[in-house]
Point group: D2
């Protein structure tokens, strides 16, 4: 078994896309290339079979096969979380066990639509824990914009107290800044176990979220190196530098964060960057228009200019520093 | 001040429609006629400015005027609850005070859309209580099909414990049978104050709900005499007789319970029964088609036949009883 | 290949439940028993893998296996429609082809959540038709209470004109009486192909819907013999007799129509009637409480009394008729 | 009567907040100060009683009074659009007439929740036009994130063709870039009247939307001078310069665009900038926490630094230009 996630897990867990060929089949050669790409960008971990991985469009067999393939490929190099959300505990248990047997670091479950009260959510996760067994580390995926299930800070702490295997919150309520602050302060006040919080939402509020107490990001932004570098700068004690870098990418972060359209943009960028062979989504899915791709051309060019400027500026600062040192 | 509702309040509180003239103005002559009609049917109380009273289509002035008019007219004869739900505590407070000053028995508040967690709901009602003052009896209108706000039994009991002025639940979650049972049993087990529960949902599950622990109905079914008679039979120890009567009306209960369409049907029946001059809804609102009115003709005729049969049967039983007594 | 559904298809297509054993596996012995039960009740057809068949809780493999098993078992005796709704056209196509190869009469597709405009719905079904191929008869499952996708009469006729393989509407918008009337009248006025309409919604408005132009029912009420007999009486020219019979069952129709809870009730009744070995839903799912089962005892006993009465009444009429014939 | 909006209307129509005193009353002194502030920032127009103006929390009387006050105060200096959305055509008509009599430039109507099909939306706006009369310029507020009503490009063009008084789309679907492109291209292809499109959504995609064919913005970002300057640069033929300026503000645009929280931030900034006396929302509403205000301190300081940098850069360019001219 590989390394497991736990309460201290930090860093950038990139949400992997699922590359498809033009016939709609999973393109395993691109899966491998993409994994290399993510590794080259120095991400700290990986999440597969998330919503942005088009998990819901895979057959049960494909999910199992993709999971085994990815885990075999990354081996011990990257802790990998597998999304197992679904309508049935029976199916969920199968996917959880296969994943852990193949070396996953933990599993992630989003609540199903229709849970509406605190008690319903609490009991649901109780059943999930019972179904998958108590030794599998569990991530709560809190994405109410998609699930329509809302988790209050108090309820989350109740879950943390009740289920020791719950070690991480994937936080992507929006707006959600206050939620991170409240969870952190209430957890301290009440003496509740501090768990890992990685943020999603395409990283739109990432530097603010780090300031509020997040431990990193779990999202699939097509420039994961930014996510990693912001993380490094922030935890090296340079929050302003982290935010400076982030702001350069913010136009694209915002652009990629458009519901539905965003995944097509993300895959297109990954394709342009050589990470996957085809940007196609498995149908049904959004297909970029000419206006979209021209817009993306322009935004990517603007980013390149900005980054050029930043590098020039850094160079200048570095040289100035060196010259004063002389 | 008139009589106030409290935890022991029982019976049938009919949700009054708001009659409009053909120009869309409130038809106060029909308001009076309708109040007489309800009184003749021996209802135990009245609720005005509910969703089925088209409250949201009235201007603030009209709401205040209608409230004052109705309360002046019914005087002490019928305890009257006034719906004060709205987007602003400022406006809510004004309507609550006007209502109580004019002799209302209590006020009813539905949660606004957008409340999603237990804590959000709990805090909202705390603010409501603070806004209207602690001496006004309060009804929680629990109608998630319309508000999209879900109230768990546990949360309701938490509210009951925290806010003494909360004396009644208008229950219309659907399905909601289990909720009544749970509130009653949990309340007893935990020693939480028992409050009044009146059921809505057009009375579709009325006899079952009485069996589960409800204290009556708060709904606007156009034959309120059935609601009253079922209540009387049930609490006189004849649940089967209550359900027998209810089942005769069930085809129409079900018919009137259609979302949107139902209110137009209700007003049409009240119009046919002479309670209001015009069946019109204030626009925008559903207008019955010819197919609807013919269907209603047929369903009302079927009901008349059934009731004829029941009366004949009762007569027979009564005569048989008398003859054996001779 | 077996018989295919088409625009003239009429009758009662019962939505089959999926029986599970206590371990959560599909109980194939009960599947067979249930199929016999439905056949004994003289239903005209069958629908499997619907929402009420817990299709979403099956793995892809289980869906395929169950489909093949049922189709092999019923052979040519009952036309069988297979629900193939899902997030991916790829997976949908596979299930459609397997089903038709195994002898299905057609496939049924509900729109996925998130379709909001007429054009989005129109284009989605265009893609479905293209994905499954033009020779497979298609049913539009119109169940907005669950899918949150609303289909206007005009849009439906636009779909009927554009896609010849669309031969049936499973109608379960609520309220939906006006929709049937409008589709029928607009279709005639505009000369649009008349397709089959079978109604769902647990049959709550069944006799009214037949009057409005429906061709039968597609629902899983646990007393399918009522659905069949109402259909027979209605089309034999006895609408009042049809409605009389229906009204006897209405208390249970209403009872079984409770969202979430209803399926547990339906399975419990089927279990009590000997059609399936265990009433269990695959988790997560509602489990009946003691209050529920006692309520059901009472409602079933009331139905038995009513049916006894009806039979006695029929007997009386029959004897009277015979005696006058003497 | 003042100037009316029409199909050619362009520019920045700022959504005015409604300032409240600490007691919750409308603070008319701040209303005046705010109007001066907006005028000083050179906005091209004004919109009052929008969702971000807390219109739904005002009583009918307050809405009328505020409308009259604002229109008297701005006189002919700023075309003003009044939001009149509501549940009743009766109330809507009154507010529309009062507004136009007092000098409004037009009225804006968002569709009510519950409209789901193209035909329902089409018919609703037909009724609105009939209710308010055909000579009042109308804006369609397309904000599905709040109304849950979705407008397709085709349907919008159908509305434009049917109702000549519909002269503007307030566009704030998200994502909505493709929608602008489609409306513009379809309108041209089909020869449908070209109407004004002003964009909302807190301007998150503003420069991209201008590129797609928008005519300006209608949103309440607390730095309206940016909205104006981006508009000026863009239509002066400098889209890159427009986007450069926009990107400097993007961190705050994004920050203010948080649902619920955003309005409190906007009012706080307006308060800090001296435009209104109190940042308070009328209860219920979000109250900023200490973490929020410290975050805002930081973000505002970062903006000031960036703007300082831009000004320095511009100064440098300007000086360089001048020196070469010498």
């Amino acid at each position: 078994m590989g390394q497991l996630i736990n309460e201290q897990t930090r860093g950038v867990f990139v949400i992997a896309v699922t590359p498809f060929s033009s016939t709609g089949a999973i393109d395993y050669a691109s899966v491998d290339r993409m994994l290399d790409f993510y590794r080259d960008q120095k991400v700290h971990g990986l999440t597969i079979l998330g919503i942005m991985g088009e998990a819901q469009k895979l057959s049960s067999d494909e999910s199992l096969e993709l999971t085994r393939h990815v885990l075999r490929r990354v081996g011990d190099t990257l802790p990998t979380i597998v999304g197992i959300s679904g309508a049935s505990f029976q199916v969920m248990r199968g996917l959880a066990q296969t994943s852990m047997d193949a070396g996953a670091a933990g599993v992630m479950v989003a609540p199903p639509m229709g849970l509406r009260t605190d008690d319903q959510i609490f009991n649901y996760y109780g059943s999930v824990c019972k179904a998958i067994g108590s030794d599998i580390p569990l991530v709560y995926q809190d994405y109410p914009q998609s699930t329509d299930v809302y988790l209050s800070p108090n309820l989350f702490l109740r879950l943390v107290q009740a289920y020791p295997q719950l070690v991480m919150l994937k936080h992507e309520e929006s707006p959600g800044l206050g939620k991170i602050s409240t969870i952190r302060s209430e957890s301290e006040q009440k003496g509740v176990r501090r768990v890992s919080i990685l943020v999603g939402n395409g990283a739109l509020y990432y530097p603010l979220e780090l300031q509020r107490g997040a431990d990193g990001a779990m999202t699939g932004f097509a420039y994961p190196e930014m996510l990693v570098e912001v993380f490094e700068r922030f935890f090296a004690g340079d929050p302003e530098g982290a935010e400076d870098l982030f702001d350069l990418y913010l136009p694209l972060v915002r652009y990629e964060q458009q519901p539905n359209v965003g995944l097509a943009i993300r895959k297109e960028i990954l394709h342009r960057r050589g990470a996957i062979a085809s940007p196609a989504l498995r149908p049904p899915g959004y297909a970029l228009t000419r206006a979209d791709t021209e817009e993306l051309d322009r935004l990517m060019a603007r980013l390149a200019r900005q980054l050029g400027g930043e590098n020039a500026e850094r160079q200048r600062v570095a040289e100035a520093t060196m010259s004063t040192r002389k």
